[in-house]
């Protein structure tokens, strides 16, 4: 039955549409697998067995009656536990909201359900999408399926772990400074931070209003495109939502021949990436060259400049959101959360304003670079995953390849680009122009099709009962 859990959405949806695969059978396979493996991985905070099976039965009946809704109909997915779900506990992985049950769905949660997706459960996250890998919260942190002694990254830790271990076909994440792409990279899956404004954030617990993005995490770039095709769209009740034509994701299989790809060499070398990350990236650039793309070097601002701006904005906005609870019930937060958010109390208004002004310069700088190339490629992360709880958090002193594109709002995809000697995933980031998310995914798809990395899956961890023997 586990083989069903290793289908991609593209594969499963074809079988479901042809009525060769039952949504009930598929959902049951995932629920059984979650029951067997999640006690070791901790991807889920809440599993919705009865609700998922009821929805799967309804999907099966609809499809049998000729009311097939599209590629997500009958597909089992999960939501990061900062997405509000009507009548279903939504905690932010925090004691503060341990018993919180929203009375409305997040916009994106509703859209996915309307498209026929089956909600398996709510996934682990860093506390309110920033706290870090913490052991002082009501639930344990998620673990990396490639080696459960290792960190899956964050903040969308459970979503990445669920998809990588075959415990969901897709999961929703959020990304304020790399929280989709980072865990996607460390767990060896595909994750896209869409263009700012393409996907509504309404009903998702905010971290930083002007940097937050919502997006899908899947095994492949193709599956991300299937998800984004449903998720993208204007929501007048999200102030940041853009009223623009939705990108056309149907051409994802169009070859990349003729595209011009810029390698951010200076930013990569400045960061001092591990040799295996650099080797995988060089191989990936060669793959693009072999596929007929032109690869050139491009020069971006230092990642430290983006870090100055991104950190000042995110900490200020994050502190504004959490100030009341921090002053009234600080003990309800984990220590890691407090230590990451409280510095926002000391950022002056003029520093925040200057960060916003500087941000416009950085956005203009990227737009200028992208006049000469179609896409930019960087590593996603400087190394493979660290042991759980031992990795340095993303910070100014550890430059991030991901944060710059939260600052600029550009679409950015992380795809698996190989494996370390220890068998842990490595990843590269593909960045595009605003609202050219389809082009980013097209490049990711071409790379995945041209390489073997999507054929490798993590070995299932031993069930706890066996591990204890």
């Amino acid at each position: 039955m586990s083989d069903l859990c290793h289908l991609t959405i593209a594969e499963a949806s074809k079988l479901i549409a042809q009525r060769k695969l039952s949504p009930v059978e598929l959902t049951s396979a995932f629920l059984d697998r979650i029951e067997r493996l999640d006690p070791q991985i901790n991807a889920y905070l809440l599993v919705l067995r009865d609700e998922a099976l009821a929805r799967a039965r309804a999907a099966e009946a609809e499809i049998a009656a000729g009311r097939y809704k599209g590629p997500l109909h009958g597909i089992p997915i999960a939501l990061k536990d900062i997405y509000a779900t009507k009548g279903i506990r939504t905690t932010g992985h925090s004691a503060l909201l341990k018993d919180h049950v929203p009375d409305e769905d997040a916009f994106t949660a509703a859209v996915l359900v309307q498209a026929g997706a089956i909600l398996l459960g709510k996934t682990a996250t860093w506390e309110f999408a920033i706290g870090g890998t913490s052991f002082d919260l009501p639930w344990p942190p998620a673990r990396n399926p490639w080696n459960i002694a290792h960190d899956p990254g964050g903040s969308s830790s459970g979503s990445a772990a669920a998809v990588a271990s075959g415990l969901a076909m897709a999961a929703m994440g959020t990304d304020t400074g790399g929280s989709i792409r980072g865990p996607a990279a460390l767990c060896g899956i595909a994750g896209i931070k869409p263009t700012y404004g393409l996907v509504s954030r309404r009903g998702i617990f905010p971290l930083s209003f002007s940097l937050d993005h919502a997006g899908p995490m899947c095994w492949t770039a193709e599956d991300c495109a299937l998800m984004l095709d449903v998720l993208a769209g204007h929501d007048p009740l999200d102030n940041a939502s853009a009223d623009v034509a939705k990108p056309d994701f149907s051409g994802i299989a169009t070859p990349v021949h003729g595209l011009k790809i810029g390698f951010a060499r200076g930013m990569t070398e400045e960061a001092g990436v591990e040799p295996d990350v650099r080797a995988a990236l060089d191989d990936a650039l060669k793959v693009f060259g072999d596929l007929g793309a032109e690869v050139v070097d491009v020069s971006l601002a230092s990642s430290l400049e983006y870090a100055d701006v991104g950190t000042t904005i995110s900490r200020s906005e994050g502190y504004a959101i959490h100030e009341h609870a921090l002053t009234h019930t600080p003990e309800k937060f984990g220590q890691s959360f407090r230590q990451r958010i409280v510095p926002g109390a000391f950022i002056r208004a003029c520093d925040y304003v200057n960060a916003m002004r500087e941000r416009t310069r950085l956005i203009a700088g990227i737009a200028d670079v992208m006049k000469s190339v179609d896409l930019i490629v960087t590593p996603s992360w400087v190394s493979a995953a660290h042991p759980l709880g031992k990795g340095a958090p993303m910070s100014r002193t550890r430059p991030s390849f991901m944060r710059p594109f939260n600052v600029t709002g550009s679409p950015a995809l992380s795809v698996c680009s190989g494996f370390s000697a220890a068998g842990l995933p490595l990843a590269m980031q593909i960045v595009g122009r605003p609202f050219e998310d389809h082009l980013v995914l097209r490049a990711g798809y071409a790379f995945e099709q041209a390489t073997q990395w999507r054929q490798r899956r993590p070995q299932d961890p031993a069930p706890l009962s066996e591990a204890a023997q």
Partner: protein
């Protein structure tokens, strides 16, 4: 060592001024987190040791002056 104690005491006072009464175990880590954010780009000013003044503000001023 005395400097560290003074810094922690000042941090505690500044937090309290903002209505923040955090567990004592937070202070050392919080100081480190603030200093990390400040590192490299943020001037550590003698009169306000925990305030942030990002380097980009200085760059921006220079750019405007040049303009």
């Amino acid at each position: 060592m005395q400097d560290d104690k003074d810094a922690i005491a000042e941090l505690k006072e500044r937090l309290a001024n903002q209505g923040l009464h955090l567990p004592a175990g937070d202070l050392e880590g919080l100081k480190a987190a603030i200093l990390e954010i400040e590192a490299g780009s943020v001037a550590l000013r003698r009169d306000r040791p925990f305030s942030l003044e990002p380097a980009f503000a200085l760059r921006l001023a220079k750019a405007e002056k040049n303009a």
